[in-house]
Amino acid sequence: MRKKLLNFIITLVLAAVFSELLPWWGVMLAAFLSGLFIPLKRMAVFMVPFLAIALFWISYAYSISSANDFIMAKKIAVLFPLEGNVNLLLLITGIVGGLAAGIAGVFGNQCAVLVKK
């Protein structure tokens, strides 16, 4: 459990740092690195970075958008089309970020396994 929490926190911290410096795939790098150095088991390999980044992206997006009455979010939720449902857009944002991070985490884990022999 401690490892999961540690991986979760490190992924979050790295993602926050990388998001200032790197394009969107910074979250993949963050998950990859935590997967590499803090190995997890079974489903957690994917789920921990998935949840970390989904949470990060959703709360980040929410904090920007809520300060502006969700004007753009509502429009993008029409564009996609989600009938203007901002919650759905937030959810999709979380899933997209989480998916990328989860897979990167799995890859990081496999690298660790390979290196360990």
């Binding site: 753009m72 944002t93 890859f107 496999q110």
Partner: protein
């Protein structure tokens, strides 16, 4: 096993990266797009003042920009260079994507952004010679050291903004289409001016008229498309006497016009691209100050074609609307003068039949000899596709737009365009000079540089002058020249000089105490140069002029009322005749009820009425039935003007054109009234079932569409606004008053203005569309004309632009 898992997870990681970093069809790259740190969430913000104290390379002195509560920037610079630098910077800051997109459209570069669906559009732009015209205009602008300095300052300002952009700051449209802004250039300013020229002076029907002439002969042509209507109320009042001018007139040359059949022509600009403007003299003004108004009618788009600004230096102070990409104020006022424009709608685009020597098209017949062509190879880059190369042949007339490669069919015959839009002029200078003009002479001097699109420039000064000049370069034509396709090998068919600028029709301080224009005939038949009907408006102008003849004094409220006037003169002139002459015994109960509703209508296209919906539905069915002869496959033909259609329906009801080709019976206008009414009622009933009430506002359903294919997410729909095409409030479904301005030349001037959009180009900003409801309700913003930078009140925030040391 370990290795296999490694490879699998590697492939999966690469796959997800690729999948979320790539655009698929119209789906943006989802990872990039939804990333809250760089994607669209970053565009979820409204402008505020957190960027105070910007340092910019190229500024000479500090510039202060106050944004008022409508986000209108009030720019105070120490000199003109800095003023236009700041204009470029600020415009890019609020309208970058639009600036680039419109100039890409002008240059025929849309395929670069959206792929092969735009290839035909892009080829059309190239074949119209849009880039050729822009290059000629740029040359003229660069020859003038002052203009050159200013367009370069504007460029540098815009580029300062672009250079400091992080991808996370890109306007949302870049993120949606997944591309990046490129640097602004002076050529783009020329392209933007060409974009306007094409919109306003890009229409003509010469080839359609040629087809008609060939099929039906001259007598029929003159009946359907007369040079002048039985009544006209021209821009320059009929009282104007031209007899003291010495005029060089050209004789009609001998020789035949080529009577070819042309199957297909390029898409034309909206024929309702037009405007109203007017000004009253002191004796007709409630306060003794001149008052001026203008409302240009263009496609209703977001971001709006206009961007409101105040531009001030110690020498001048100007307020009004600018065109993102062009310098200065285009329609506006300063402390001494105000001005506005409507389209002059003159025939400045003609077509010549070119016979090439052979299929290589290196030479064509001209004056009994062979004349060399030049070729321009147009490279059209296509997103996710192969680059298209299109060779456009140029003659001394201009580009051969139609040939075997484009809508034509013979390798040896082509149709060349001659257009004042290609001449190239320093139109930019006209506006820079108007911005600082102090009186009538300043205004007149400014106009001299204006080549195309020809405009009716209305003018009012604080000292009590009003005037109207129809300015542009107009070829001095022999009677009938350029109405039809001409013979490109005959030198007598060439344009032979231009109407001298001082002979462009104009009027200053007319006795009637007002000037006005609404795209109607510029002059009557007494004007000593040849002018023919190129689609002149016939309704708005009479309503406007009748209004100003109706009483002694006018105030600002009168001006507002006139902008919002919904009186449908066309309906008033035709509808009673239709009702009287229709066989009502053949109507069903449902149809009779609708007819009763229509009889009770007062001819005002107001939103809550159903009369206008029934009338417009009826008219829209009647016109195609009347001109069913002109809807033929493989032959381009144009419907006669509305005024003449009404005239013929009333006065020539038995004309053979009234007959329907599809039926064995011989129909007359009377039959068409009944038939079209029944069709209209059927349509309206169907509409009702689907959408509810047929109140005019709901039925017309005006919308303002985003520039990118009217993306619904970024557009506004179902706006409650009346009017229609041909009405002073010329708001139709997707087109109408794109800026309404009223200025009283008091000291300082009192001004009101509004446009259907907002100052910000960012759909995520509350300033993106905040004027739309004000506009639809017929209201205005009070324009805060700051007399100095220290006197600013009600400021939202202030930006200081400082030179970077």
């Amino acid at each position: 096993m370990k290795f296999l898992k490694f490879v699998l997870s590697l492939l999966l990681a690469l796959g997800i990266y690729y999948g979320l970093n790539t655009k698929f069809g119209s789906i943006p790259p989802l990872g990039k797009f939804l990333d809250p740190a760089h994607g669209i969430w970053q565009n979820d913000k409204s402008e505020s003042g957190e960027t105070d104290g910007l340092e910019l390379v190229g500024l000479e002195k500090p510039v202060t920009v106050h944004y008022d509560k409508h986000l209108i920037p009030h720019v105070f610079a120490e000199n003109d260079h800095d003023l236009y630098f700041a204009q470029g910077y600020i415009t890019a800051r609020h309208r970058l994507w639009q600036m680039e997109f419109q100039t890409h459209a002008a240059a025929g570069r849309i395929s670069e952004l959206i792929g092969e669906v735009a290839i035909n559009f892009d080829r059309g732009q190239r074949r119209k010679g849009m880039v050729f015209g822009a290059e000629n205009a740029l040359k003229k602008m660069q020859e003038d050291p002052e203009t050159r300095q200013f367009i370069e300052a504007y460029r540098d300002g815009a580029n300062q903004y672009i250079a400091q952009l992080d991808p996370s700051d890109y306007p949302v449209e870049y993120k949606l289409l997944d591309y990046s802004p490129e640097p602004w250039t002076t050529k783009k300013t020329a392209l933007l001016l060409m974009y306007m020229t094409d919109m306003l002076a890009g229409g003509d029907s010469d080839l359609e008229y040629t087809n008609f002439l060939k099929k039906y002969g001259k007598e029929r042509f003159d009946l359907l498309y007369p040079d002048f209507f039985d009544t006209i109320d021209p821009v320059i009042p009929k009282e104007r006497d031209w007899s003291d001018w010495e005029v060089l007139a050209h004789d009609i040359p001998k020789g035949e016009l080529p009577l070819d059949s042309i199957s297909e022509t390029m898409e034309k600009p909206d024929p309702d691209n037009g405007s109203n403007n007017w000004a009253v003299a002191p004796e007709k003004s409630y306060s003794g100050n001149t008052i001026l108004a203008n409302d240009p009618h263009l496609g209703l788009k977001l971001p709006s074609i206009w961007y409101a600004m105040q531009l001030a230096t110690p020498e001048k102070n100007t307020f009004g609307v600018s065109l993102p990409g062009a310098l200065g104020i285009i329609i506006g006022f300063n402390n001494d003068i105000s001005w506005g424009v409507t389209n002059a709608t003159r025939d400045v685009k003609d077509w010549y039949k070119i016979e090439f020597e052979n299929e290589d098209r290196n030479a064509y017949r001209y004056d009994g000899q062979l004349k060399k062509t030049t070729k321009r190879i147009e490279e059209i880059k296509v997103r996710d596709g192969k680059t298209v190369f299109d060779t456009v042949v140029y003659t001394h007339h201009g580009p051969v737009s139609y040939d075997s490669d484009f809508k034509g069919n013979s390798q040896k015959i082509g149709y060349a365009m001659q257009w004042t839009g290609h001449i190239g002029g320093n139109n930019q200078r006209t506006f820079l000079e108007l911005n600082k003009a102090k009186d009538y002479d300043g205004y007149m001097g400014a106009l001299k540089h204006h080549v195309a699109p020809a405009q009716n420039f209305v003018f009012a000064s604080a000292t009590g002058d009003i005037a109207l000049w129809i300015q542009g370069m107009f070829p001095n034509k022999w009677e009938g020249q350029g109405k039809f396709l001409m013979d490109g090998s005959n030198p007598d068919h060439d344009w032979n000089g231009f109407i001298p600028q001082e002979h462009n029709a104009h009027i200053k301080n007319p006795e009637r105490g007002f000037v006005s224009s609404a795209n109607q005939h510029p002059v009557d038949e007494s004007y000593p140069y040849y002018v023919f009907n190129d689609g002149y408006e016939t309704y708005r102008n009479r309503v406007i002029n009748d209004f100003f003849k109706s009483k002694e004094k006018f105030d600002i409220q009168d001006f507002k009322d006139l902008h919002n006037n919904n009186y449908n003169l066309k309906a008033a002139e035709l509808l009673p005749h239709m009702i009287e002459n229709m066989d009502v015994s053949a109507l069903s109960t449902e149809e009779s009820e609708m007819l009763e509703d229509l009889k009770n209508w007062d001819f005002n296209n107001d939103i809550e009425k159903i009369g206008p919906s029934i009338w417009e539905a009826w008219w829209n069915k009647l016109v195609p039935l009347t001109w069913d002869e002109l809807k033929v496959e493989d032959l381009a033909l144009a419907n006669p003007f509305q005024y003449q259609t009404v005239h013929l329906l009333k006065n020539n009801p038995d004309d053979t054109f009234m007959d329907l080709l599809d039926t064995p019976e011989k129909e007359t206008a009377k039959d068409l009234f009944l038939l079209s009414f029944k069709q209209a009622v059927q349509d309206l009933q169907a509409w009702k079932i689907k959408n509810g009430d047929i109140d005019w506002g709901d039925y017309k359903a005006t919308f303002v569409g985003h520039l990118l294919q009217a993306l619904p997410a970024f557009s506004r729909f179902d706006l409650p606004i009346g009017g229609n095409s041909g009405i002073v409030n010329a708001t139709k479904k997707d087109h109408g008053p794109s800026w309404r301005m009223i200025v009283e030349m008091s000291s300082p001037p009192k001004a009101f203005g509004v446009y259907p959009g907002g100052q910000s180009g960012n759909p995520g900003s509350k300033y993106y569309d905040d004027f739309i409801d004000i506009w639809a309700a017929g209201n205005y913003l009070e324009l805060d004309f700051m007399q100095s930078k220290d006197q600013a009140q009600n400021v939202l925030f202030t930006q200081e632009l400082n030179p970077k040391p």
